[in-house]
Structures are given as C-alpha cells and as structure tokens.
Point group: D4
Chain length 146, copies 8
Amino acid sequence: MELTVYLAGQIHDNWREEIAQKAKVKNLPLQFVAPQTDHDRSDNIGEEILGIQPSAYYKDNAASDINNFRTQVLMQKADIVIALFSEKYKQWNTAMDVSTAIALNKPTIIIRPESLIHPLKELSNKANVTVETVDQAIEVIRYIFD
Amino acid sequence: MELTVYLAGQIHDNWREEIAQKAKVKNLPLQFVAPQTDHDRSDNIGEEILGIQPSAYYKDNAASDINNFRTQVLMQKADIVIALFSEKYKQWNTAMDVSTAIALNKPTIIIRPESLIHPLKELSNKANVTVETVDQAIEVIRYIFD
Amino acid sequence: MELTVYLAGQIHDNWREEIAQKAKVKNLPLQFVAPQTDHDRSDNIGEEILGIQPSAYYKDNAASDINNFRTQVLMQKADIVIALFSEKYKQWNTAMDVSTAIALNKPTIIIRPESLIHPLKELSNKANVTVETVDQAIEVIRYIFD
Amino acid sequence: MELTVYLAGQIHDNWREEIAQKAKVKNLPLQFVAPQTDHDRSDNIGEEILGIQPSAYYKDNAASDINNFRTQVLMQKADIVIALFSEKYKQWNTAMDVSTAIALNKPTIIIRPESLIHPLKELSNKANVTVETVDQAIEVIRYIFD
Amino acid sequence: MELTVYLAGQIHDNWREEIAQKAKVKNLPLQFVAPQTDHDRSDNIGEEILGIQPSAYYKDNAASDINNFRTQVLMQKADIVIALFSEKYKQWNTAMDVSTAIALNKPTIIIRPESLIHPLKELSNKANVTVETVDQAIEVIRYIFD
Amino acid sequence: MELTVYLAGQIHDNWREEIAQKAKVKNLPLQFVAPQTDHDRSDNIGEEILGIQPSAYYKDNAASDINNFRTQVLMQKADIVIALFSEKYKQWNTAMDVSTAIALNKPTIIIRPESLIHPLKELSNKANVTVETVDQAIEVIRYIFD
Amino acid sequence: MELTVYLAGQIHDNWREEIAQKAKVKNLPLQFVAPQTDHDRSDNIGEEILGIQPSAYYKDNAASDINNFRTQVLMQKADIVIALFSEKYKQWNTAMDVSTAIALNKPTIIIRPESLIHPLKELSNKANVTVETVDQAIEVIRYIFD
Amino acid sequence: MELTVYLAGQIHDNWREEIAQKAKVKNLPLQFVAPQTDHDRSDNIGEEILGIQPSAYYKDNAASDINNFRTQVLMQKADIVIALFSEKYKQWNTAMDVSTAIALNKPTIIIRPESLIHPLKELSNKANVTVETVDQAIEVIRYIFD
C-alpha cells in the first residue's frame, strides 16, 4: 500500500529532500508531492505564462491562480498532508493548505518549533498530530506500517 | 503520476488533437477524454440508438440523454478540466461542463480569446486559471510536474 | 411554507417583475432573489468599490468577484432556481448559475424560446423542467402548492 | 432576509464594532458573530474551565479546544465570513478560519492592507473578494441588498 | 419543535388524510407534504402546462419532469419520510422516493402489509422502521416527543 | 480506461450473461458486477450464515442484511449502473438500486419494455438514459469509447 | 441565537435535568433534546408498537429500529452534542452517538470521570472538548455567548 | 477485484490473524489493515515519538493523536470494515470506528457474542450485518464473490 504525501510549508530550505531521503532509508512506500519550491519561479509563473502584468499586484494575482491550480491537483491525490512552519515567515499559504486538507478529511501532521506553540495552538488542535522535527513526522507515518 | 484531463468546449476544429500532440512532445503524463467531437454523431446519437423521434425537439431530447451520460462518466474520471470557448458559438454546454467541474471541485482551466473577456468574466472568476491559447493551457499543466 | 426562488438569466427586460407580479396575483408564498439587474451597476461594481483598475480586463476582474459573491450568498438561500435564456445574448452566466444550482441539488426550471431548443438541449436535460414562457414557469411552481 | 456574518481576524482593535456600527447606520439586516475578542480570556479559557495545566503548552492545548468549539458553532450559523488581516500579527487562526469557510462553501471577504498583497495572494485568490478597508467590505455586502 | 413529514406512496385512498387527522388528535406538531394525490392531475400535468404531446410516451415524459420537480422541492423540506406500499400497485415511485430519502440521510418509516414482507425485505432493511399500519407509524413519530 | 458496470434488476433470466457476451464481442473494456443471481441462494443466505430463524419474516430480515451488504460493496466500485425491469415482477430492489445510484451521482441506464413506460416515468426521468433492449444499453456504453 | 443541544449518554440518573436547570439559571438560550430516558420504555418500544417478538433478540431488534429513528431525527436538529460517560456502563450507544455527531461535523463535548481518561482517549481526541463535570460543559457553552 | 478490509476491535487475542488465515484458505482476494495491535506500543506511541509527558493524562493525549492518525489513513483505504466486540472490554474505540465507518458509507460487519446482543442493539441496527463468529464474517464477505 503506497501512500502519497503532500508537503506544505516554507520553501526556503531543503526539508522536503530531507524527508524524502529519510523515508527512503527506512523503506517507507511513500510518494511525495509539493508546491513549487523555487521561490522565484512561484512568484513569476503568472507573468511567465500570461505575459507582463500592469503592476506587482496583478503579477501576484496571475501567479496565485496557477499556484492554487497546482496545489488543488496535487492535494486531491494525497493520502496525508504534512505542513511545516518556521519562525521567520508568515506562511499563510501553509495555514491555508493544512486547513483545506483538514476540511477535506485528509490526515494531517504539523511540524513547528517550540516557539510557535502559542500562535499555532488552534491549528494544531485541528490537525491530527503536531511534532517539532522532520524525524518525528517520519516516525508518525512509519507507525502506520508497523 | 498520470493525470486525466477532460477537454470541454467547441467541436468545430482540431484543438483537442493539438493539445494531445503538444503534451506528447513535452512528455507530459496525460490521458485526454472529451465529449463526442463528431458534431453529426452527437446530434444523431439519440435516434441512432432509440429510433426515429416525432420531431426535432424529441430528437434533441434523446440525443442529450446520451451525450450527458457520456460526459458524466468521463468527467468523473478526470483530474483536470480544460474548457475552450470561441467567438462564434453559444457553447452553453461548455459553460455547463466547466460549472459542473467547479462544483465537483475539479481544477479547471478556461481558454478563451481576448474578445470574450467581458461575457466570460464571472465564469473565469470561478475557474482556477484563464488563458488565451492552447499553448498556455499546456504550460499551466506542465507547471504541476516541475 | 414560503419558498425562495433565485431568478437567473438576462437582465435586459423586466421578466423578474413580471414573475413577481404574477406570483402575487396567484397568492403564491414566494420570495424572489436575483443577480444585480442594473447592467451598468453590475459592470462597474468592481471599480465602484475597489477604485479605478488599469484596464477593461482588470475592471471586469474586479466586478466579477463581487457579482459572484452576491450570487453565492443568494443562491444558497434559494429553494428553487429559475433561469431564463433569450436569443440575443451569450448568457454564459445563466448557464453557469443553472449548472451550479443543479450540482447543489437545487430544483431548477429553464425558460427558453423554441429557437433555443437545440443549443440548450444538454442543459435542459439536466434541469428539472424546461418551459417557454414565464407563465408556464409560474404554473410549475404553483403545482407544488396544489 | 437577515444574514449572519462571522468576523474572523485579529482581536487587537475594535474593527468589529466599527463594522457593526456602519452596518447599522446603513440599515443592513445583518447579525454579527465572532471569536472571543478578549485576548486574555481567549488564552485563559482552558484553565478557567478545566483548571491549572502543567505548563504553558498544556494551557494552550486546553484553550484551543474551547476556542475551536466556539468557532465551529458560530461559523456553521454564518451566511458570510469576513476575515481581517493586519501587518503586525501572524494570524494563522485567521487564515485557518477563512480557509475552512471556503472549504464549507461560505462566501468570504478578506480585508488586508496593501502591504500584505504578496503574502496573502493565494488566499485572496480563493476568497470571493479582497478589499483594503472595513468600509469596502460593508459596501460589498450592501450590494447584495441593492 | 415542529417537524415536516413527507408522505410518499400510493395515491388511491385517503391514508394521508388519516395520518394528518390522527396526528392532530394526538397534538403532534407535524406539518405534512406529499406528491400530487389527484392521479389524473399527476398524469396530465405535463400536457396541462406544456401543451399536447405527440404520444402517450411524451405525455408521460412531460408529466414526470414536473412531478419530480415537486417531489424534490418538498422532500428537501422534510425532516421525516413515511412511505406506504399496498399490494395492488407497482409503486416504483414509492421505492424511488424512500431510497432517495435514505440516500439524503432523512429518517424513514415504511408502512406495508404483511403480504409484502418478502419483496420489500431489502428496502425495509435500509429504512429506519417498517410497520404495518398508519397507527403504528404515528406511534413511531410520537415516540420522538415523549 | 476500464469501466465497472453494476447490473441491477431481475434475476429470472440470463440478461447479464447476454450483456457480458455482447460487450466482449464488441471489445468494450468493461467489468460487470451484480447482486446474487441465484434466487434461492439470495433468499436463504441469512439462514445459511446465521442459522435457522424463527419465521419467514426473520429469515427475510437476515437475508436482506447480507444482500444489501453485497450491493453496497459492489455498487461503490461501479462507474455505471444498468437497471433492467420486466413486466412480471415487483422489482422494488431494482428501483431502490437505481435510485441509490442516482443519489450517489453514478451514471445510470434503465432497460424496460414499452409496457412499463407509464409506471416507470418518474424513475426514467431521473436516470440518464432509458432504453428498451440490452443491445441499446450496450450501444449507449459503446458511445463513451467512440 | 438559540442553539439546540443533543444530550447523549447514560439514562440512569438525572444529569439532563441538571444541565437544563443550570442553563436556565444562567439564562442561556438553549433547547435540549435527548434519547428516550425511561430505560424500560426504550427497551420495550419495539414490542409496544410492533407487537410481541419471538425472543429477546428480536425484541431488541425491534426496539433499536425505533430508538435509532428518534436519535437521527433529533440529532439532525442539534447544533451541539454533549455526551456523558459514567464508570458503570458500557455506553456503546454514547460512543456511537458522539462518533456520528463528529462525522456530521457537529461540535461535541464529552463529559467523563477522571477514571475513564484512558479508555476514552481516542474518542476524546476526536471530540472538540472533554470535561469532567456538567458544570464545566455548561461553561464551555456559555463561552459561545460571551 | 481486490478489496481492503479494516479490522477494528479488541487487540487482546489473534482474531485478526485467524481471519487473514481463513481468507487465504478460501482464496478470497482481500487485503487487511488494522489499528496497532501491540497494546503497549499503542499506549506508548505518544511518548515514544514526542518524548515524556507530564502525567498519564498527557501521555494518553499524545498517544491518541497518533493512533487516530493511523486509523484515519487506513480506514479511508478500506472497502469494508469488520468490528469485533468481546465481553471483557469497554471497546469504545471499536464503537467509534464502526460508527465512523457507517457515517462514511463503508459497508460494515459487527462480530459479537450472544451476551452482547442487548448493549449493542442500536449499533448492530446501523451496521450492515451482525454475526457471532469470525467464520460467519468471512462467509458474509465470501458471498460478495459468489
């Protein structure tokens, strides 16, 4: 039984590769999908496909159409959603993705540092499991196969 | 991860073959499904299967049963819906298909010429992405796999 | 038992007032809701609230947000949807509204002239009832109370 | 037709009273509901009802149960959700509430300053309407009754 | 707490009036709705509103549109569905109505004579309660208020 | 694209084998599932598994549990439902199965003789397509693959 | 805004009256509904309406039909579900009711003594809030109105 | 057609291995999934992954997050749910799992000893089939393939 895992969250470091690598080492039958992790690509995709927009606002408008399209296609294929929050970013997309996943009845894991316990308390309360490290998230998924 | 794409819209030129050809060139793992594209076949299918009807109205009635049956079967299999509008046609079926897809939470792309921006503005607003060319639609889907 | 009826369709004549007047004469316990019927207001509402936009495209974009918001609020309150099509207009919004209503399991009536039988055949097939006149639509609703 | 409006978002100024006041001046038939706006009360409600918890983490845990209970009860009563974002706060609860509302098919309005266009672009894209001021949000709702 | 009860089933005797009368005697706060019980009216309603049809088949076609419209409007208002089967009739509409009600999660009661136990066994199995008399059905509903 | 077809309806002749045979001749990629077609087996399955019941009523009760279990498992796997009605039987199970399929948004085909047009008119109106012969039903499905 | 509260759980003491009384003292706008709290009535209702059954098993069978009918009608009217567990009873009905409520997206409160923390841990985890006393449950609901 | 079966219920003997073994002997195309059956592992999984908790209550809290996550992932993959009850245990998780399965429209079988007929009567009433032995449950599933 192979499971598909959507990896929501910040795109500023290589935590997705780390998860994929660790899952491989543990021989977990997982396929990973994710939003666009090249930040510039994600910001520019609207103008890249639709052409130059009249201002930064409309450039964002065009990019968000296509980023949301990608997320909707891939999240519908997911059996599990993992969302990682970090201290430095607003990450409203991450909160949006995990809330959407919960509303769609997808099992969800939040990864966040101890310092974010308070601002994320209501979202953690709705997710299935909240952990602090990538390794713990992997352990939670591995438990399914034990 | 192969995705199934339903191609709604006018059946008066070969835009579906064009999309399929371009997807193949780009090695995108897509399977395409569509309504009946032989216009006469689509109009006559009711009488072809059920026999001669008492008037044009009842002929249309019988054909629409079977065309809607086909669309319902194939759209339920689709991960993505692309709908193409052209200037010359009423295309209420296209508006119906894309609205149904949106209500079923299927990710949707509308292709329409610049001249149709105004009459399609509310429908575009509900779809995920609106573009002007077949090439742009292909690029939006390709972005999922980047 | 009062019922709420959403009146989708063209906004170029006073068919909504006609329906409301006829329902009143027959003492039917109906409340009517509808999209914005002042065409200019509907086209300008985006700029009216959000300010001048950079081009006609963005003006349409802004207006459609608010028109769709209105429709979504009111259609969710509706027990019945009536959609009127006329020969002169594209009326993709009407096809969108009736398709959305059907997907939401709202009972629907289409009113269309005989000349539109063919292009509307698949949409008529999905609606509950298709008639040619406002009086017939009123009769269909009156039948609920008989 | 009275409508119930859930007011999600920051609880650090009196924007909810401002909206209620302005709706009253315009005679809009609206009833407003909201999360707990007394910040200390919201943080302490877990311990207030369940007793002292072993640490800040468990205090948050207990509070979030009851805050989410309140939100779920009141949002299910809402016909419309307005979510206000401000520059200073993380507001993941606001992103969670508006995402949940969208997933439940509730019509939604986001209010956010121009400076937040970029980080909120994907969430704005999913909401019905995004505006910059409380007055604009009121105008969007007033449009329903015109 | 007033409850609305949809009374599906044969229209060849006055069992609906009997139920309404008995509910009134017991002071149960029930409102009853039902399909058209005038059999001729029900058969002729298509031609009555839409005009003469080319054959009996098309007359039935037109009538069924409007009968199903009525049922859909009223069943959506119902809190409870009672379906009565009798020996003499095919009553596929009754089986359709009760199956639809079950699929919509409406609590359902079947009334049928002992002689129909065998052919109705699977349908009875899906309904909440099966009884043999109108009085028993009233008792089942009265139990809600005890 | 292989499709699974649930064959509801009477179990007194070999129409299911006929459909399967004709689909094979036409090379249609179809997999067929069905209720128990051995009538005695279907009536006795409750006592076969659960032991002797105190009367015919309880025997039917026990059998219907298991027959409905089977139908629910298999219908959830189906992409299409075909329901065949014949003149001689009550076939309330068939009406139940096709109504359930329609409520679950499964595309449906009814096969019934001309003599049953009138009693089945409302059920036909809700199904996608109604035909008179097994060959016509096969043609409707073949049309999906053209 | 009046809320309806379904009170699931054991029927061996008067905790429901206690809740109703306390809600009244605090002027909370609540309407309470519940299963049959007369234990004998609940056990005998099947035979009371349907007549003597062949054994205790069939008596239970008949009673459960009618008890589940009552619960389904009343829970669908509820905005909130409170479920009380006590040490002495199996209370599988209570676990069933609260699980059904959660699956229907009803906000839920569990009341249970400290001694039941362990066996109820997974159910508590799915409910919104778990408390130990009736007074705490009332406080959680009062918080909605603060 | 392979089916996936979720085996809910007590984890104190090897009934799951027994079912799997018997299914294999009968060549039934079944894949089995289940909750964690190592009782200590299930109780300790929270502390195993998240570290030592401040008390038994919080240890249970942490374990239940992860056990419910596992159940949600695996039950969503299941075509059928079997739930086994025994006399000695409270088994509220089993009642929760089967109720959730029923609410999700999963076909369900309950296995329970005769002594539990009375306390499980309402839950049995909602499940598809109730039997007394593992062998009977296997027979019910085998009937699908006959």
